[in-house]
């Protein structure tokens, strides 16, 4: 049972434009959300996180938005750069258990120069 879903397996964006990666979750007990970036043959790299007490968190070109009522998370990259081309995973943790992070299946972003 996939509790964190990334329904778009791939996304292509022109350099300089905005990339929007989406993530949906089913568990209302999730209280902490993260985005990771993964290059081929490397482990995922932490990008940005957001707590459920917030609805937005910004770090440079990366902004994560959280819509708790819709159980929806999105990552905005502005402006997109060719080096952003990677697979992006969203992850969530349940408040009570805390140990286990649930990951989506990833979205492969290609930024076209």
């Amino acid at each position: 049972d996939q509790q964190v879903k990334q329904n778009s397996p791939s996304l292509s964006v022109q350099e300089g434009r905005i990339s929007i990666l989406n993530c949906d979750y089913t568990n209302s007990m999730f209280d902490y959300f993260l985005w990771y970036k993964k290059y081929p043959a490397e482990g995922p790299t932490f990008l940005i996180s957001i707590s459920s007490i917030k609805d937005k968190n910004e770090d440079g070109r990366f902004t994560v938005f959280l819509n708790k009522s819709a159980k929806h998370l999105s990552l905005h990259i502005v402006p997109s750069q060719p080096g952003d081309s990677a697979v992006y995973f969203c992850a969530a943790r349940e408040r009570d258990t805390g140990n286990q992070f649930y990951f989506g299946t990833g979205t492969s972003l290609t930024v076209i120069p």
């Binding site: 990334q6 993260l34 482990g43 995922p44 932490f46 996180s49 805390g98 649930y102 990951f103 299946t105």
Partner: protein, 113 residues
């Protein structure tokens, strides 16, 4: 500083054989996680170690899987009597604590023939 390292990077084994995968976490990180990623899937939580506490083994798929963490540092994931469905990339991550972002190693690609 040094990141999370894993060895071997690739392992090919015959069905029925045992394998050991090693993870060296970042020095000072008290939390250590094992995940696996099968083809086309998201990261699947396997086990979590936090300091000297009993590990959270809730994600281990069968009793053929076990893990230990010696001295609160290096961890070994052991798969006994490997099956073809065990073929996946096994990722290790460490963090400063359960509430902190995880830093991943490059993974071990296991192929069971």
């Amino acid at each position: 500083g040094a990141g999370v390292s894993q060895s071997p990077s690739n392992k090919v084994t015959e069905k029925g054989k045992d394998v050991e995968l090693r993870c060296d976490p970042i020095s000072g990180h008290t939390a250590l996680y094992w995940y696996r990623q099968s083809l086309g899937q998201g990261l699947e939580f396997l086990i979590y170690f936090q300091g000297n506490s009993a590990p959270d083994k809730s994600g281990l798929p069968s009793d053929r899987f076990s893990a230990e963490r010696t001295g609160g540092s290096v961890s070994t994931l052991t798969i006994q009597r490997t099956q073809q469905e065990d073929s996946a990339v096994y990722l290790c991550a460490s963090s400063l604590g359960w509430n902190r972002e995880q830093y991943f190693g490059p993974g071990t690609r296991l192929t069971v023939t």
